[in-house]
């Protein structure tokens, strides 16, 4: 065999401009999936403050003074957290819409329109996210 030259990673990174819709969809889906599973772990961690709270006694719970309620309320009081939640919504909505697109693809539905359905998922994600901002931010100030 003759020698040959491998353009390796440089090429991989240099190529992103030339990605097709399907590739972007794949990247976004991956990214959003990872964010979601990451969030699931944090989410459960935060929620588990409910365990000590449950042991702390009826009174505290009734007054809303338990660790759980306190943690959540203080977290939800932070604008940053609220904004992150909007982000989370965007991520989840995209993952859901594109996931639906992928499920249809798996069934062999709409393959010809795969790029259009990807753009539609993006636009819809944007729209739903913007529309939910008031609800998400409500009471944060």
């Amino acid at each position: 065999m003759s020698q040959s030259y491998n353009r390796g990673l440089i090429e991989d990174f240099g190529r992103w401009r030339e990605f097709e819709a399907g590739m972007w969809a794949w990247i976004f889906h991956k990214f959003t999936g990872w964010v979601l599973i990451g969030y699931l772990f944090t989410h459960i961690a935060v929620l588990s403050t409910g365990i000590p709270a449950a042991g702390a006694g009826e009174a505290a719970i009734a007054a809303g003074n338990d660790v759980y309620t306190q943690t959540i309320v203080s977290l939800e009081g932070l604008l940053l957290v609220r904004l992150l939640e909007v982000g989370l919504l965007a991520v989840a909505v995209f993952h859901m819409l594109n996931g639906t697109r992928l499920l249809l693809t798996d069934l062999g539905i709409g393959l010809e329109a795969q790029d259009k359905s990807f753009y539609a998922s993006l636009i819809l994600t944007g729209a739903i996210t913007v529309a939910s901002v008031p609800t998400f931010i409500a009471g944060a100030f």
């Binding site: 991956k30 599973i37 989840a92």
Partner: protein, 123 residues
């Protein structure tokens, strides 16, 4: 030749489960978001409210199922992504079991929390 890939191992089952869980999640996640952000607002969360919901058996079991499917779906997704990027050999085995362990912890912790709310003694 085909024998080259002797480590015969069908990925079909996991692939299929990933899709089935996705369909389930699609419905439940939408419900979850809707309930906790639109019906009840973020600033109204309290232990009492959570616990009131959890005491209903249907809600409790739905949430446990939600947790299990989401964990499976998410962790299996991560694992697949890594394998697609060329994760092989011992590294792969190690990561696989680490992910399994993390899932078990996550699910256990989740169930304990739910139990705490539902007033089930086991937590």
């Amino acid at each position: 030749m085909a024998e080259r890939y002797s480590s015969f191992q069908s990925g079909g089952r996991m692939w299929f489960l990933q899709r089935v869980t996705a369909v389930f999640l699609l419905v439940v996640l939408a419900f979850h978001f809707f309930l906790l952000h639109f019906v009840h607002h973020a600033d109204e969360v309290s232990f009492l409210a959570s616990s009131a919901r959890m005491e209903q058996l249907s809600y409790y079991s739905l949430m446990i199922l939600f947790l299990v499917t989401a964990t499976f779906h998410g962790v299996n997704g991560v694992y697949n992504a890594l394998v697609n990027q060329g994760l092989t050999g011992t590294k792969r085995t190690v990561i696989k079991w680490t992910l399994v362990a993390a899932s078990v912890v996550l699910i256990a912790q989740g169930i304990r929390t739910a139990n705490a709310w539902a007033g089930i003694g086991l937590y």
